[in-house]
């Protein structure tokens, strides 16, 4: 780690210092305003939200970085993953753990296939036309939302019981908390490390990182970059679909799930820096924790979660004013 920091540019070092200072500020203000236990519960909830946002935002960031496509259908992948996962979890007659695993498999595979079809069939012909891609993915998001509504109905789906393996509670910060929440945090951290290792330790990852910087040069080195594009798009879709199914035992499935997470993911990608994986990871923590603290604060002082959404948008504006390319994004030369 000391080697890592020694190699950073002064701007990146400043970004890390800002992040550390801001997270310390969040912890401090939570302790002062809510007291020890509530602060702990709030930050724990924020940590879980951070992991869910990360699953959606990491795909969005990688897709944007490599393909230059701002994928507005990313939220719809969460939605499709949640509803397909929900239906599978409910209908498979196995033990709850196996049913949940089947639901995860169904959600991930179907959203992955959907991503592959969309990238190869619809987005690939439009690589030279970025504006059309925005319109296309925006439209796809709307179509998928409509399809989900037609197939599964407009009524929200209530949370299903977590699989047996993650049932039960544990005692923390003066409150009993579901083990399933701990599973979400653990899963998010595992995926964060796994994708990080993929990007940093494998040849495919090196190609992806190089492609984020200059996909044309990667082609000129003899690498079929279109295959890499498809892989990254599918990976992004799969992670979003995973976020969808993982949400089912926690908050059920609702039609606004996609848009809710799309907005959070876009804020994360902008704050972290477009196309920066480490930026996305760090910004997921910032946004998840900020939202949880702001929600708790507004519930305490205004009896309504009025600050939850505005706080993260305000945060995004501040970051863009201080560092227009985001915390870890590349500055335009």
């Amino acid at each position: 780690m000391p080697g890592y920091f020694a190699r950073l540019t002064p701007r990146y070092r400043r970004s890390w210092a800002l992040v550390a200072a801001y997270l310390a500020f969040l912890v401090l203000i939570s302790l002062i305003d809510f007291g020890g236990n509530t602060a702990g519960q709030t930050l724990f909830r924020g940590l879980m939200l951070s992991m869910l946002i990360f699953l959606v935002a990491s795909g969005l960031s990688l897709i944007f970085g490599l393909l230059d496509v701002l994928n507005f259908a990313q939220g719809a992948f969460v939605l499709v993953g949640a509803y397909i996962g929900y239906a599978t979890y409910q209908s498979v007659e196995l033990s709850s753990t196996y049913s949940f695993l089947a639901a995860v498999g169904a959600a991930v595979v179907s959203v992955g296939l959907l991503g592959a079809v969309i990238e190869t069939g619809l987005i690939r012909p439009l690589y030279a036309r970025p504006v059309f891609q925005i319109v296309l993915t925006f439209g796809l998001g709307a179509i998928l939302l409509d399809l989900v509504q037609r197939i599964y109905g407009p009524q929200p789906k209530q949370p299903l019981a977590p699989p047996e393996l993650f049932r039960g509670t544990f005692y923390l910060f003066g409150q009993s908390l579901s083990i399933y929440r701990l599973f979400i945090i653990g899963l998010g951290l595992v995926i964060m490390v796994a994708v990080g290792l993929l990007l940093n330790r494998t040849r495919l990852g090196i190609i992806i990182r190089a492609g984020v910087q200059d996909a044309e040069m990667v082609q000129a080195l003899g690498i079929n970059v279109r295959r890499v594009f498809t892989f990254v798009f599918v990976l992004g879709a799969v992670l979003a679909g995973l976020a969808g199914i993982v949400l089912v035992p926690y908050q059920g499935a609702t039609l606004d799930l996609g848009n809710q997470f799309l907005i959070l993911a876009i804020v994360v990608v902008v704050i972290g820096g477009m196309g920066s994986y480490e930026g996305t990871a760090v910004a997921s923590f910032i946004v998840g924790l900020t939202r949880a603290v702001a929600e708790q604060m507004s519930l305490k002082h205004f009896d309504a979660p009025v600050l939850a959404e505005t706080s993260i948008l305000f945060l995004m504006i501040v970051v863009l004013l201080v560092q227009p390319s985001g915390l870890f994004g590349r500055e335009e030369s």
Partner: protein, 247 residues
């Protein structure tokens, strides 16, 4: 032999390694190349000359398939390549060193070299050649590409093209932005690497080009106007002045 573009033939007998024949390339609605022909004899250094905006860089990009020509033929080692995609062209054995070098800034020097491997072990096999030509890269192996100086980035860009077994290197403006001492080093490196591979060079600096290359092609307003042996061009001051504006 110095001759008009219509019949650029550098030598009798052996067919050229690269034969670009009357290509027309568009960028958007702009008709950039309007009949460029280039023949690159095997085992030589050939230089593309011409004023700024003449179409030299676009010619290299067309050969690589990055701006594919709409008309004309490109044959490499006797096979047509102008309908292939860039990665397929590269896999045929053409290495590309672009004008802006395009080093992957977040990757280390080592990763910048490893990514160019087409077969596992390419870099290990070429290590002696690469680090013999550019010893600095060995020292800088674990440093991110973004931390290198302009000269070091140029070395890395050329070294990257040497990792796989490329029969032809396309090198665009290797001396651009380099200090005179670094230009000398770069020239020396290109001269030495030409013992291993054929080189097609774009070079704005005529002094550099004339000392390096054995053959030349002059492009003006998107079309080949002259081609021949460099020794003949150097002795023809009028031709140099007419097409290159160099006294």
């Amino acid at each position: 032999m110095t001759g008009p573009a219509a019949a650029p033939n550098h030598g009798a007998g052996a067919p050229p390694l690269l034969d670009v024949e009357q290509i027309h390339t568009f960028i958007g609605e702009f008709h950039i190349l309007q009949g460029v022909s280039v023949q690159v004899p095997r085992g030589s250094i050939t230089v593309l000359l011409g004023r700024n905006g003449a179409g030299k860089t676009t010619t290299l990009r067309s050969i690589m398939g990055l701006n594919p020509p709409r008309a004309g033929q490109i044959r490499f080692a006797g096979q047509s390549i102008h309908r292939l995609r860039p990665h397929q062209i590269a896999q045929r054995g053409i290495g590309y060193v672009p004008e802006k070098r395009i080093i992957f800034r977040d990757l280390t020097v080592g990763q910048n070299l490893q990514i160019a491997e087409r077969q596992k072990g390419d870099l290990a096999r070429k290590a002696d050649l690469i680090f013999g030509l550019f010893p600095d890269l060995h020292r800088l192996y674990d440093l991110p590409g973004g931390h290198l100086s302009g000269g070091q980035q140029q070395m890395l860009a050329i070294a990257r093209a040497l990792v796989p077994d490329n029969a032809l290197l396309l090198i665009d403006e290797p001396s651009e932005g380099l200090a005179p001492v670094l230009i000398e080093q770069m020239m020396d490196a290109i001269r030495r690497l030409s013992a291993h591979t054929t080189v097609l060079l774009v070079e704005q600096n005529f002094q550099v080009a004339s000392r390096l290359a054995e053959h030349y092609v002059i492009i003006e307003e998107g079309a080949t106007v002259r081609a021949g042996r460099m020794a003949d061009l150097v002795s023809d001051k009028q031709l140099i002045k007419t097409y290159l504006g160099v006294a």
